[in-house]
Symmetry: C2
Subunit: 102 residues, 2 copies
């Protein structure tokens, strides 16, 4: 089965980008050891002072979906929601078909 | 210095998605051992039968830029250009600020 890549973008209300990023750092620590997690990095775009980006690679979409049940993750999502400027956009889902191994 | 993440999307002329992906597989082999290359994966979106996506992580933007000079890479770019449906879009550049180590 091909690995699953998810590019997510979360836009914070003005002034809350850092707080949102801090929550995602905590999330990355929780899911780093989850089954099938290969990559979970948080990024920002220099031209966008409101958004935080998450790039994830999982052995399968199922592994990704299960990560939302990891203890503590739901609590972090609950903390993040009020910081968001509207509902989170659906991420871009890709199927990895080649490249460097991870 | 924070790592550099590049999300690229290349759209092929109809019927050339696989040929374009094959060129990118070769490129990934060339750059996998380049200085600072942490990730170079090729993906596709199930809903898009024309495009090929490249997600790259480098220790720095400079390392990425230098990878374009790796022997053989320019030749592959030259091979890929006629397969593209228009000039390649500028990729999304992110600065990694946290997450799992890679």
């Amino acid at each position: 089965m091909n690995q699953y890549l998810l590019n997510g973008k979360l836009t914070a209300k003005p002034g809350h980008q850092e707080a949102l990023a801090a929550i995602l750092f905590q999330a990355s620590k929780l899911v780093a050891t989850a089954k099938g997690c290969r990559l979970y990095v948080i990024g920002k775009d220099k031209a966008d002072s409101h958004s935080v980006y998450v790039t994830e690679i999982w052995d399968s979409k199922e592994d990704h979906d299960n990560s939302l049940k990891v203890e503590g993750v739901r609590e972090l999502i609950t903390q993040a929601m009020p910081l968001l400027d509207g509902p989170p956009a659906k991420g871009q889902e890709l199927e990895i078909i080649g490249g460097t191994e991870i």
